[in-house]
Structure formats: C-alpha cells, structure tokens
C-alpha cells in the first residue's frame, strides 16, 4: 500500500513537473553561460531584450557576456574585464536601452571599486578603471544607468573605520568617470541606487543614528550631490534595514525597507517621493519574524513591485512575499501575497518590472535537503492584478542543485534569469531567457449568428487589437483545457478568430496564446464567449 502510494505520489510529481516544464515561457533547456568554478553572476536586461551578464571567472577575473534579444539569441563569448592577478568579486552590471553596458566590481587586492564600460557602438569593454577613493575596505557596490549616465555606489571604509556611502558618476557621452564623493555620514551601509530616464539619481542607505535609520539623497538632473538634500525615511524609534530604491520616468523615487517596529518583529515599509518630501511610510507586510532579503523594481510609470523573503511567527519557513504599487495610486500598495509555495523553504528573491507594470519574480526553492534546489518564477499581470498563470513556473531543471538566482527584466518585458548549478569548484552558470509576448488588448468574445434563408450558423467571434508593445505573428487558440488546440490565426490585423457551428445556449471558453516575432509566447489568457 505504501509502495503504491509512493509510486502514485512520484507519478503525480513527475506529471506536475512535466506540465510546468511544458508550460514554461523560459527558454528550455537553459543555456550554459559559463564554465565551472565561477561565482557571483549578475545580469541585466534592457528594453529591447539585450542582456549583459558578469561573473567572477575560475581564474579570479571578472568576465562578461552579451546576449542579443529573442529566444534564438545566444550568449556571446566571454570578455574578461578585470586585470589579472587581482582578487575581485561582486560584479554588478547595468545596460541601458541603447545597449551600452557597464560593470563595476570590488578589487580586494587594491581595495578599490573598478569599472568597465562597453559602448554599443564598438562592443568592446574598456580596461578596468578605478572609480573609488583610497580605502581600507569597499563592498556592497551597486550600479544603475540610463542612456546618459551611470552611477555607482558602494560602502567605503577608511583607515579609521568610518563607513560611508561613496558614489561616482560615469558620463556616457564623454565615456569618463567623475570624481568620487561621499554621500552619507559615517556608520552607513547597504546602499542602493537608481537613475531615472531624466537622469534624476537617488541613492538610499542605512546609517547608524540612535537606531539604524534609512536615509536617501536625490540628485536632480544636471545638479551635483548635496548633503542638504539627504532625508530620513524611516522612523527613529527602531532599527531599519534592507533599503531598496527605484525611480519612475518623472524622477520620483520609491523606496522600501524592513523595519523592526517593536524591537523584535519586522514589517516591510515603503515611501514615495512626493516632489519635495518623502511620504509617510506605510506597511507593505504583516508582522514578520525575520526578513532576509528585500528587493524592489520600479518602471517609468511608477508601478513598483516589492518582494521579500521572510518568516512569521506561524510560518517558520522562509517564504517569498510580494506587494505592488500601481502608478498614480500614491503610496497605496496592494496587500502582500505569498508568491512561493507555503510548504517549501525558499531564499533569495529577485524581481523586475516592465514598462506595463508586469512583474517577474524568481527565487530559489530548496526542495529536499538542499540537494535539489530549483529556481522558480512567477509572473504578475499588472492589468488584472493577478498572477498569470496562477501556478509557479520552474526556470531551472529539477534534480539539480540550483542557487544564487539573478534576474534582469527590461522595460520591454523580456527577461533573463541566471543561476548557478552544482557545488564547490564544479559550479557553473546557466541562463534562461523569457521573450515577452503580451496578450491582445480590447478583446471581445461574442456569440454571433450568420443567418441564411432557413439556416442559422451560430459562431463564436474573438476580436482584439495587437498589444502595442508586441509584434505578434500568430495567435494560437486553445479550448478551455489549455491543451486542445483549435486554430492558429494570423495576427497582422489583430486577433481575429471565429469558430462556427456552435450549439445554442453553450458558451465556450477559449485560451489564447500570443506568438511573438521574438519567439516569445504569452501565457494563455482565457476568454469566455457571451451573448
């Protein structure tokens, strides 16, 4: 009996895995991004779907690779951008919508932050440039860029033990870095940076005052940093941590952090820049027993997606939670939702949001004893405020030890996920690409009749416009079960589907998948015919 139950469970599990793999919008099988012995891979994706990845190679140098857009793109050969003989770590990358890319990293040998820039015109990475001041330690570097500039921030520690947030700005037109400068007082850490399309730059950090507080500084376009514009975001009474910041196209940042509100338990808080001040923080979460990672993504409209990994008093497992802020809704976030499975330990969420407010979340799911860790993902549909599809979608293959996921989501909606596979010196990096395809808009699903003399053909008619962010080639229409294909119709004039000889009084449901010119397929979207 037990054997039978075990077999049934195994079969059910395999069926579930197979279904998820079939339904996955991620490219499969994953690309092998690197050789073995690598670590610390990061990735960024721009509006057109071009991605850049950087990692610490097996020989200890920073390597980068570019992947063109589309499902058929493949990673280019790796370019080593750091100087040999140096101990380096923590590469972070950014790519703008033009395709210029930048990577900064920590040089532990020289105790500096270094950078390399790759203009899209030449496609050649520059030699490593030191962008930080002399220090005894630098770490937690971050970088952000737009089409005009790139900004790096990091924690800088001097010989006296003062830890400050330092920054430097790269001018893309002159391809030169400015002069590094300190943004914070001593006792700071955990910086994050964002650059708006108008070049408004905002940096957030945590600093030790009476308690650990969240502070931020905003630099207007064309202006210099000013210590006078530093503002406190979190309350003074308790410790705050894990700050993250993003910005919309109008230069208004959104910030989130974790706040130990009663000295023991935490909440996730968020605040929005109102043009002259930060709004009063609001709680995005319920009471949390612990918070391990907080991530934020903001698009040009100001739609924001916040994710965090946390435990609660009743849930000892780390689960992934999310909350969303819709543009024009002030600082009013949606209620938190649990993104991951409630029975499995998870870690390291990453989030990205496209120009439409659709969000992608990935995280590491530790399935069994840490030997079978899967990178999972979910897709949040802005228009319906729903997860679509409702189930979790696996990014990596089951049965292997995946970990350390990183995610790049471009404003165009395409995304790249990278993660490490294996353990010890055998670790290598895999990558999967999500080529965005949006559903048609203004869709109507109607029952119509074509009446001849003596006969009437009842038919279902689906009509819709192509999504303006899409280049759909075809639409595939399935029955409600999502597997029985009815027809694939051209998309040159939008969604135009008809099914004839329907029965009176029976109104079918269809699932429609967009097949995009970039090779991407949308999730199936359901439409039920009405009178």
């Amino acid at each position: 009996m037990k054997t039978c139950a075990l077999k049934c469970s195994l079969l059910l599990f395999l069926l579930m895995v197979c279904f998820r793999l079939e339904a996955s919008p991620w490219t499969s099988p994953p690309d092998t991004l690197t050789g073995t012995g690598v670590s610390k891979t990061t990735v960024a994706t721009n509006a057109t779907g071009v991605s850049v990845a950087a990692w610490v190679d097996s020989d200890g140098r920073i390597s980068t690779s570019i992947r063109p857009a589309g499902v058929n793109g493949s990673w280019g050969s790796a370019s080593q951008v750091s100087t040999s003989g140096k101990t380096v770590t923590g590469p972070v990358v950014a790519i703008n919508d033009n395709g210029d890319a930048i990577v900064i990293w920590e040089n532990s040998t020289d105790v500096t932050i270094e950078a390399s820039f790759r203009p899209v015109g030449t496609g050649v990475w520059s030699s490593a440039t030191v962008i930080s001041s002399a220090s005894s330690k630098v770490d937690t570097q971050k970088v952000a860029m737009n089409n005009s500039l790139a900004v790096g921030v990091w924690r800088h520690e001097n010989g006296g033990g003062d830890k400050k947030i330092e920054t430097n700005t790269f001018n893309i037109s002159t391809q030169s870095w400015g002069t590094e400068e300190f943004l914070s007082d001593a006792g700071a850490g955990s910086p994050d940076v964002t650059v708006g399309s108008d070049s408004t730059t905002a940096v957030i950090w945590r600093v030790q005052r009476t308690k650990l507080e969240i502070e931020a500084n905003i630099r207007e376009p064309g202006e210099s940093w000013s210590s006078a514009s530093i503002m406190q975001l979190s309350a003074e009474s308790q410790d705050a941590a894990n700050p993250a910041i993003g910005i919309n196209a109008l230069g208004s940042p959104v910030a989130i952090w974790s706040y130990q509100f009663d000295g023991t338990n935490y909440v996730i808080q968020g605040a929005c820049w109102t043009g002259s001040s930060w709004s009063t923080p609001v709680n995005l979460s319920g009471t949390l027993a612990s918070v391990s990672k907080v991530r934020l993504a903001v698009n040009g409209n100001g739609d924001a997606a916040a994710v965090w990994s946390a435990t609660t008093a009743s849930q000892p497992l780390h689960l992934i939670y999310a909350a969303f802020l819709k543009s024009l809704s002030g600082n009013s976030w949606t209620a938190e939702t649990v993104v991951s499975r409630s029975t499995i330990e998870t870690e390291k969420p990453e989030v990205g949001v496209d120009a439409l407010g659709n969000a992608i979340v990935i995280w590491n799911e530790i399935v069994a004893n840490g030997t079978n860790e899967i990178i999972q993902s979910r897709f949040y549909l802005h228009s319906g405020s729903t997860w679509a599809p409702s189930e979790i979608v696996a990014v990596s293959a089951s049965g292997q030890k995946g970990g350390e996921p990183a995610l790049g989501v471009g404003s165009g909606g395409s995304a790249t996920a990278v993660w490490e596979v294996g353990s010890g010196g055998a670790k290598f990096e895999e990558a999967a690409y999500f080529a965005v395809a949006y559903p048609p808009i203004n869709v109507t699903a109607k029952r119509n009749s074509d009446r001849f003399f003596g006969q009437k053909d009842l038919y279902n008619k689906l009509r819709g416009n192509n999504h303006p962010s899409n280049s759909p080639v075809t639409y595939t229409v399935y029955r409600a079960d999502g597997t029985t294909q009815v027809e694939t119709v051209g998309a040159s004039k939008g969604l135009k589907f008809e099914e004839h000889n329907r029965r009176k009084g029976i109104f079918e449901t269809y699932q429609v998948v967009t097949n995009n010119s970039n090779g991407g397929q949308s999730f199936p979207y359901s439409y039920t015919v009405t009178k």
């Binding site: 074509d450 009446r451 001849f452 003399f453 003596g454 006969q455 053909d457 009842l458």
Partner: protein, 190 residues
C-alpha cells in the same frame, strides 16, 4: 356566399363561353411573405408564361410557370447566397365579363421547385427542395383590338419547406417561400 357565387357563374356562363385559348407573358414583383426571405433576399422580379383554355363558359383552365431568382447576403457575415424558385401552377379561373374587360378570380395547385446556393462552408451549400403548394389570383383583363389583351393581376402563393441539414446549424422546421405578386401581362387570344 357560395350560393351567390354559383348563381353569378351560371348567369355569366352564356356570355363568356368561347372555347378560346389564351397565351400570355407575365411579369410581376414578388414580395416574399417570410421576413427571413425578405431580410436575406428581398423581393424581386418574377416572370413566366401562362396558357389558359376557356373550357366552359367563364371558366378557364390555366397553367403557368414563373421564375424568380435573386442574390442576397447572409445576415451576419454577409456571405453571398442565391435563390432560384420556379412555381408552376395548374388551376381554374372564374372570369366575369364586363364591357371591354374581364375580372377574374382563380385558384391553383402549385408545384414549387427551389434551389439555394450558400457561399459558406458552415451551412448547407446547396439546397434543392420540391413540393406542392397553392395559390390564388385575381385580376382584370383589358381586351385590346386584334385579340390582344392586357392583364393586371394580384397573386398570392404559399409553400412551406423545412430546412433540416446535417451541419450543426439552427434550421427552420417550416418556412414560407411564397408571397404576393403584383404584376401585369400581355397576351393573345386564339
């Protein structure tokens, strides 16, 4: 009423007994009785020959065949459809002679032959129907010199067909293909 008609017939019989044969060409406007027919095809020209034989005083045995053909569009997707109808009649007319005129009333058994072609794969593409119906007519014949005559008539014909087909469509159990005709004819009396 029947009695009065019969008496009228007997009184008029000696006046119109001529044993003549008439041949005429008829043209009229067919106005379908069915709204569905109207919506899909509308009315149209109907025409054909008629031959009659005055076999008894004031009684004509007549036979005619009218032809109606009309294209139309389906109500919805506006697919082309065409109908062809040939109602053939065998009937009797009662003629009431007046100076230079004849007023007549008639009834006929009609045989309808109907063909429809629909340009849609989702309904029956070709439909052929045949069957008996009936018709009544009334008119005025104006007797012209040299045995010619001119006729103005009203007619109503009726026939219902059912349109069951193999495809999964909503079909009418019984639909009227007849309707009214107003028309005229010109003919020759032998």
């Amino acid at each position: 009423m029947k009695k009065w008609l019969f008496l009228l017939f007997l009184a008029a019989a000696p006046l119109c007994a001529s044993n003549e044969v008439r041949v005429q060409g008829k043209v009229g406007f067919f106005y379908p009785a069915s709204k569905e027919f109207q919506d899909v095809y509308g009315g149209g020209l109907i025409y054909g020959p008629e031959i009659s034989w005055r076999f008894m005083p004031c009684l004509d045995l007549f036979a005619d065949a009218m032809y109606f053909q009309k294209g139309g569009k389906s109500l919805g997707l506006k697919k082309h459809t065409r109908i062809k109808m040939l109602p053939a009649s065998l009937g009797i007319k009662l003629a009431v002679p007046l100076p230079s005129l004849e007023v007549y009333f008639g009834a006929a058994l009609k045989y309808f032959s109907l063909k429809i072609h629909n340009s849609s794969p989702y309904v029956s593409r070709s439909i052929s129907k045949d069957g008996f119906g009936w018709g009544i007519t009334s008119g005025v014949s104006v007797l012209l010199p040299k045995n010619f005559f001119f006729d103005i008539f009203l007619e109503y014909m009726s026939k219902k067909f059912n349109f069951h087909c193999n495809k999964q469509v909503i079909s009418n159990d019984s639909i009227q293909v007849g309707g009214g005709i107003i028309g005229g004819s010109i003919g020759y009396r032998f």
